[in-house]
């Protein structure tokens, strides 16, 4: 990357200048061996992309540390409070892409009071002056304001990709700024964000001449968009490959877009329903041909308000699909069967449990290449009917042997089915089972679910992520501690009998990085048992457990490199009581932007 050489910081520039000067005047001095080595190293390191490898490289010696810092272009910060913007920028000066993650995952389920933190502002402010060549920003669970987006749009002339996942704090006016000012924009992906409706027509703000847009994802936006402007935008975006529409786009409008963009590879189909008033005499457009024309389509989603009558329109693309997301589509078994029977290449499948066990059996029969399955509940309450059960899980385990990742919501489950999955799907990396009724045992034997989850950690040797549920004793945790040697993320709710449960895990799982626990009887003694490990973790979350303030204070005293936050319920008058312990390693002093209900010990 020759252009980098021109902006090198101080000492190297002088050396180069001297070298060049030497060549010109005939007084050439060959560079010192150290310098050669460093130059070679930098050139080699350019090829190193994995951040774990880079972290290892930076530990070799000072010169390698420097070289690595100069050549790292992708900055990944898993917890925005673990390091300050200033420190990150001082070390890594040539960054092109930044990944920042903020709130812990349980915040998605309203367990964290709002306004907890994770503000993008200090980051974008610092980067605006230090990373002029920034091209990509990926944010997850951060609070992003319209002003932040405005600053971003103004500060980075080469800006190409903005991906916001589970973020909030901004609205359509912020998007308008991005659309109008980022002339090189290729990717604008808004995924599961909360976007305020400022009644700004942001779609019209893209440049009038052609755009270089490759991906435009806005299916999470809960307000109407200017469809005519979108149609024109699609027409002048020849590179567009990924388009995911929100539910305010009707199927008739979808048709008009699809015939303009048959090159799409990823399509989010919007509402997949007709707008309210359809003239009775009018012919409906030929949706089937529109889909048939999209020969490159491999990923299909949307169906936000599906009228199942329209489902046959997608038949022509099913055979090529590798990813199908029906998780917003209220369809029944028969409707699913009519589609899934064509989807032989499917690798990723998200669906609602409205399709029942029989629907999952159909998936198992056809989708032999399935790698990832997510089954969401259409009625997410503890006491609802529960159309899927161990029957569906068993069928999937038998039919989809290559399964790597599963998220399964259900009302009843058996150990036998979970054990079967552990044996049939040995490639499992992610196993997340949510039995929605708290403390529910195996519904056939009445036993706790210990053996099922035990089998998972025992037999699935590649497992790195686990979420457990149902009636669970300390035995389940002893299994996890004994066999879950690669587990990095563990999610626990309403489980365990005593401190031993947590102890087993903290003492047994050396790779544990993210531990989130709610409503489980683990207390201070258990917390203490993890002292040897907390610096290796990204965070620990414990809410509604048996912790005391003194116990948390002890941890804070013992580990100065940890930030220990105790978070009160906003309604709580008792200033010493708290709901949540959230602690994480950090290179900085505790943050100063914490709200009143957060106490940092």
């Amino acid at each position: 990357m020759s252009e980098d050489r021109n902006e090198m910081p101080e000492p190297e520039v002088d050396t180069r200048r001297r070298e060049i000067a030497g060549v010109l005047t005939g007084e050439f001095q060959s560079p010192s061996p150290d310098q050669v080595l460093e130059n070679v190293l930098e050139n080699v390191l350019l090829f190193l992309t994995s951040r774990r490898d880079r972290n290892a490289v930076s530990l070799v010696c000072k010169s390698w540390y420097r070289a690595e810092a100069l050549t790292r272009s992708d900055l990944f910060i898993g917890n925005c409070y673990a390091v300050s913007p200033r420190r990150a920028i001082e070390r890594f000066r040539r960054v092109r892409s930044v990944v920042l993650k903020g709130k812990p995952r349980f915040a998605d389920f309203n367990l964290m009071p709002p306004n907890w933190g994770a503000y993008f502002t200090p980051w974008v402010t610092a980067m605006a002056t230090s990373y002029p060549w920034l091209e990509k920003v990926y944010l997850k669970r951060m609070f992003v304001t319209d002003r932040d987006l405005e600053l971003l749009a103004q500060s980075f002339p080469a800006f190409k990709e903005l991906v916001l996942v589970c973020c909030d704090g901004f609205g359509t006016s912020g998007l308008a700024g991005i659309a109008s000012k980022c002339r090189q924009l290729r990717v604008l992906d808004l995924i599961e964000d909360e976007v305020a409706d400022d009644e700004v027509d942001w779609i019209s703000c893209f440049p009038e001449s052609g755009t270089c847009l490759e991906s435009l994802i806005f299916d999470c936006i809960e307000c109407p968009i200017n469809f005519e402007a979108l149609e024109r935008l699609v027409a002048r975006s020849p590179s567009l490959r990924k388009l995911r529409l929100n539910r305010y786009v009707s199927i008739g409008q979808l048709y008009r877009l699809m015939i303009r963009a048959p090159q799409l590879t990823h399509l989010g189909s919007g509402s997949f329903s007709s707008s309210d008033i359809v003239a009775q005499g009018d012919q409906e457009p030929d949706y089937i041909s529109a889909f048939a024309a999209c020969r490159s389509l491999v990923c299909l989603s949307g169906f936000r308000e599906i009228i199942p009558d329209y489902l046959p329109a997608i038949y022509p693309v099913c055979a090529n699909l590798t990813s199908l997301n029906f998780s917003y589509a209220n369809i029944n078994t028969e409707q699913l069967k009519s589609v899934i029977c064509h989807c032989h290449k499917l690798q990723i499948f998200w669906v609602l449990d409205s399709v029942c066990d029989e629907g999952l059996q159909a998936v198992a029969a056809t989708c032999k290449e399935l790698r990832e399955l997510r089954v969401f509940p259409i009625d997410a309450r503890e006491d609802s009917e529960g159309p899927v059960s161990e029957v569906g899980l068993q069928a999937i385990s038998e039919g989809c042997r290559k399964l790597q990742s599963i998220l399964y919501f259900c009302q009843r489950m058996t150990n036998a089915a979970v054990i079967a999955m552990s044996k049939n799907c040995s490639d499992l990396v992610v196993f997340r089972l949510c039995i929605m009724g708290r403390h529910r045992p195996d519904h056939i034997t009445g036993e706790p679910m210990d053996e099922g989850f035990g089998a998972i950690v025992m037999n699935c040797k590649k497992l790195t992520r686990l979420a457990i549920s149902g009636l669970l004793t300390d035995k389940a945790f002893s299994y996890i501690g004994k066999y879950g040697k690669l587990v990095r993320t563990l999610s626990v709710a309403f489980a365990g009998d005593s401190d031993m449960g947590l102890k087993y895990v903290l003492e047994g799982c050396p790779k544990l990085q993210k531990l989130e626990i709610r409503d489980s009887p683990f207390g201070d003694a258990a917390l203490r048992s993890g002292l040897h490990h907390y610096y290796n973790m990204r965070f620990l979350w414990m809410s509604s457990c048996r912790l005391s303030r003194q116990g948390c204070e002890e941890i804070a005293r013992a580990m100065p490199g940890l930030v220990v936050e105790v978070i009160r319920n906003e309604n709580e008058e008792d200033k010493d009581g708290f709901e949540i312990l959230y602690m994480y390693r950090s290179l900085e002093r505790p943050r100063i932007d914490a709200p009143e209900f957060v106490t940092i010990l």
Binding site: N110, S274, D309
Partner: protein
């Protein structure tokens, strides 16, 4: 001796249980020590916490291990459980949109059957939507059941098997499940589909139980 709602103190955990047994407390007969406290928080604690959630600062002796306590009454919803994001809960709310055609009207409409709890509600809404077309509401027993009466319309629907059925014969929930589209048919065409005044067809609420 003043009755009291006793808050078990930490010291009582090991030594003093027998002492505490003799203490007068305000509580239901048979309520255990921990039971009184839990009972209090169950009724007062409108934050709807789980049974394991206790006052964290004290009471290590509290014995409500979540494993052996009964789950709370079925209808209380716990914050953040099950762990499904709000956007999924809202959009995945059950909706069933079907097209509605009325003989003679130039436009179709669309209704969400899940918005209604009964036939009465649905037909009332259809009447509003197509206000110029009086719809026969033969379910209302007070109305005259005269099948051949001018410009009245019969509500019919196409079911999963593709058959055209008269609205109102089956329980509401079953109807919602099997209905694919609605058609308000001119009564004059509906001769032969004599409506049965079925007592079963009360407006059973098809709404989700809460």
């Amino acid at each position: 001796m003043s009755p009291q709602l006793a808050k078990p103190s930490p010291e009582s955990s090991s030594a003093g249980l027998h002492f505490n047994d003799t203490e007068l407390t305000l509580g239901l007969p048979g309520a255990t020590k921990s039971g009184t406290k839990r009972g209090f928080s169950d009724t007062v604690d409108l934050n709807l916490r789980g049974p394991c959630n206790t006052d964290h600062a004290s009471n290590p002796s509290e014995n409500d291990v979540s494993g052996d306590s009964k789950p709370p009454p079925a209808k209380t919803q716990i914050v953040g459980w099950p762990p499904v994001k709000a956007s999924r809960k809202n959009v995945a709310k059950i909706s069933k949109y079907v097209k509605v055609a009325v003989d003679g009207a130039p436009y179709l409409r669309k209704v969400d059957l899940e918005m209604y709890g009964s036939y009465q509600q649905l037909l009332g809404s259809l009447e509003d939507m197509f206000s110029c077309f009086p719809i026969r509401n033969y379910l209302n027993e007070r109305k005259l059941m005269d099948p051949v009466k001018g410009s009245d319309y019969m509500p019919t629907y196409e079911d999963r098997d593709g058959d055209w059925m008269l609205v109102g014969d089956v329980p509401w929930k079953m109807f919602v499940e099997s209905c694919k589209r609605l058609r308000l048919m001119k009564s004059t065409e509906a001769i032969g589909l004599a409506p049965r005044a079925s007592q079963k067809c009360t407006s059973t609420s098809g709404s989700k139980s809460l």
